[in-house]
Symmetry: C2
Subunit: 507 residues, 2 copies
């Protein structure tokens, strides 16, 4: 490639200004935009369409593992929240509070009226309100395990919102389960983390590192928090999903007791686990390039977009017919056992503009059809995972017959690129504080070009030693499950240490 | 049937206490229950499972008619709401208002803190916040029509909540569209009403009367409100869905203008339309009987439930194997072009209790399998639409091969029963006020047994005449689309009138 500046669809580029690039891609891809309501976003057609595919896939996995969907109230009475001390402390600073139930006009101005006896919190998470129901529904060990999931909006008041990643309201699912024994609950906690790992890697093409959070990073109220951590293109970490073993914390707070097999009353062991629309942001920061989003085929609302290229009215009927035939061909093909999702873009705008529109959204395959293609029985294909390869011309029948394989190849290519990036940006040879400090001392804002990423190193577990990380804005992301088990030296204290952890800056 | 009391699964029966019967059915069917949060409900596995089937079917219809899903913020700034005077007047008395964004502890007690500069309303409906986006997104006639839908929770503060039918928070979909011309917008409004009519009748097996609301009953801000009205088993009406032509009301309030084909700025014409989880309540009040819910096959989470009847451990393996084989057989069959939804109930409880549990939920077909059935290669079937027919024994292969037809027959039977009821309880021979008053003068609480229902009669359109209805708690439900067009006499005023309307008490 020449050193000359290449024109890109997104300005600025990642290298020029990573944060602004991110916002521009989200907007240009028609995924989302910030609303006029502070910290709240609008999910647009392409973004919500991806979320629908994600929901469908996850929901299937939850049902396959025995969970049923419920829906619990948005409003949580303050008194419910107050039951678990750590939990309320963890969320008190970011809760939207409803205090009135109507409006009235005073001097022509609308003001809140009808003050509530007890204020209601908009759920930031639902352990307390679901716990309230569990305490009523669970009587005996025969009622266990109770395996629930909820698809819902939640709210955490954000002072520094970032679209898709951190907004005052977001969509998620939250699983909540109750079990007879710690062993059962822990098996569930780990099983759901594995569901998330597989979903992120196999469906979103986002490689993740599964592991456990250190005590300082646990969910408020949890005994153990497990997580999957992904690496963004600026080398920062993003927590992509969490699964918590909650022990007896909420069982005691909400009085969830059952008659066990010995006939005695006992507290259940609960778990909770969730992923959210922030995964849309994780996909952008993993897969997008300087021309916009690249959407993994498995979650692309449209896997193939057909664009009729009409130069004059005389061509129109023939081109549109050919497009319809191609679409019909493709609809008889399958990808991952399902019909291929194909759209013909009939909007009233030039074909070239349409092509760039779908490049920015990241449709996996963009097919342009003009009069010449009809004569040749061919299709003009752009593969979004490798845009620099340009357009290729393919025999129509071959293209249709082979579509499942090509979509699989794109899915794999996106994952492989991301995995290579994650491996390249993970360093394992930092053994002491001086090297650690030097590595993270570069300005965090230039991290796309600085080459910073994850440091995988030994840590002795001394909680006080974490204070050293503050100045670098670095945190311990997780204790990965795959440990080398070797004796070593803690990078923070120089003391002997066996446990490896991932250090990184994070979203 | 003998005059002797028949034991029923639901106590009281419809005849004994209709309102209490309704609540008991909702609870016993595992569809929903009221939560500890005032006026809010919990949708449980069976109820939410039906809602999922409804969503899937409706969502497909919306996409087929060109709509895309978006998601807009839960929070609406007070100032957005104030823009449309009728709209805010219509909703001001039932809005939850967020005034603070965190909690703090004062003397050990949690209290709201961080007062917002501008209070936020929890959306009761989203015309104003979606209008705000439409005003940014729409520039030219090329951007029209804009066809959006949103699946969301909404909140309307309820002083007299009734489970599923009227709760402080509920789930719904709201379509919002913008068009170049009144004609286009009106076509959309009527098209979506027809989608709802077909969905209610063909999928939920709930017959409805489509028509237009009179001015007094319009959505706040609408020019025309169209609706479908269903009849419950106590003869009361339930508005099952609405579709509004909003004219320029929100276009002007939110400043949604576009450059038209003549190059001039013009206001768009908007529509909105919605159905909600109250349709779950409508189905209960249409289909349930004194033994619980009867769920239409098209929305039943499980269309066939297989219950192994185990009398001793020796039988167990053989019975469970036979159940699995039966399930495998059924999964190769289709109903409405999709695999049959089959569940084997493996819970640790007696087979008879399970059967009654599924009767109360209203699984369309309940199949019991014991050792004797294996020997006979048969199945023991309960058809929930006709419980008084009892159990029947059928050849296993016949049962599996014929399953699609049987489910179709159940779907049709539920609709036919409901339609017969609606026709029987609609009177068309009331011609004057004396007869009208006599018809509705019986106590509303005894309406299940009183035989009251819909009065289809002429009304002259005089708004003042409606005051006469107040004492009877009757309203005009709609002006049905199918009019006889004949000259007649207004039942309220005795004046000449051509227009027929439906009068009824309503939920």
């Amino acid at each position: 490639m020449s050193a000359q500046a290449v024109k890109t669809a997104i300005t600025p580029t990642r290298a020029e200004n990573y944060n602004e690039w991110y916002q521009k891609v989200v907007r240009a891809s028609d995924m989302a935009e910030l609303s006029g309501v502070r910290g709240c976003q609008i999910l647009k057609a392409w973004g919500y369409g991806i979320w629908e595919q994600m929901q469908r896939d996850l929901d299937h996995r939850f049902k396959e593992t025995g969970h049923e969907n419920y829906y619990f109230p948005l409003y949580i009475p303050l008194s419910y929240f107050a039951r678990e001390a750590e939990h309320v402390d963890g969320f008190a600073k970011e809760m939207a509070v409803v205090t009135h139930h109507r409006l009235k006009k005073v001097d022509g101005k609308l003001v809140p009226d009808g003050e509530l006896e007890e204020p209601l919190v908009i759920r930031p998470t639902s352990e307390t309100i679901i716990g309230e129901s569990m305490s009523k529904w669970i009587k005996s060990y025969r009622d266990l395990p109770l395996l629930l999931n909820q698809w819902a909006n939640v709210s955490r008041w954000e002072m520094r919102p970032r679209i898709l990643l951190r907004t005052t309201e977001f969509l998620w699912q939250e699983g909540h389960t109750a079990h007879e024994t710690q062993e059962d609950a822990m098996r569930e906690t780990r099983q759901m983390l594995e569901v998330y790992r597989s979903f992120c890697e196999d469906v979103l093409a986002v490689p993740v590192i599964p592991g456990e959070k250190i005590a300082a990073e646990r969910f408020p109220g949890a005994v153990n928090t497990f997580c999957i951590e992904a690496m963004m293109q600026d080398g920062k970490a993003l927590q992509a999903g969490t699964s918590h073993y909650l022990g007896h914390a909420f069982a005691k707070a909400c009085n969830i007791q059952f008659q066990n097999r010995d006939g005695n009353l006992a507290y259940v062991h609960t778990t909770s686990w969730g992923v959210s629309t922030r995964l849309l942001g994780a996909m952008v920061m993993t897969h997008a390039d300087d021309n916009g989003m690249r959407t993994p085929p498995r979650v692309a609302p449209w896997q193939v977009v057909i664009i009729p290229v009409l130069r004059n009215d005389a061509d129109k009927a023939a081109v549109l017919d050919y497009c319809e035939e191609l679409k019909a061909d493709l609809l008889t093909s399958t990808y991952e056992g399902e019909p291929v999702r194909v759209k013909t873009d009939l909007r009233d705008m030039p074909g070239g503009d349409k092509r760039w529109d779908w490049i920015k959204r990241g449709a996996p395959l963009i097919v342009e059809i003009g009069p010449k293609d009809i004569a040749q029985r061919q299709v003009c294909v752009t593969r979004r995972d490798n845009l620099s390869a340009g357009k290729s011309f393919e025999d129509r029948a071959n293209f249709s017959g082979n579509i499942g394989h090509v979509l699989s190849a794109i899915q794999k290519s996106l994952f492989d690129q991301a995995l290579t990036f994650q491996k390249t940006r993970t360093v394992t040879n930092i053994k002491d504080w001086a090297a650690f400090e030097a590595y993270f001392s570069k300005d965090a804002d230039s991290s796309f070009t600085s080459g910073q990423g994850f440091v995988r190193a030994k840590w002795c577990g001394d909680a006080d030693s974490l204070a050293k990380l503050d100045a670098l804005a670095v945190t311990v992301r997780c204790i990965p499950f795959d440990q080398d088990g070797k004796e070593g030296v803690c990078v923070l204290t120089g003391k002997p240490a066996t446990q490896e952890v991932i250090f990184a800056r994070a979203y």
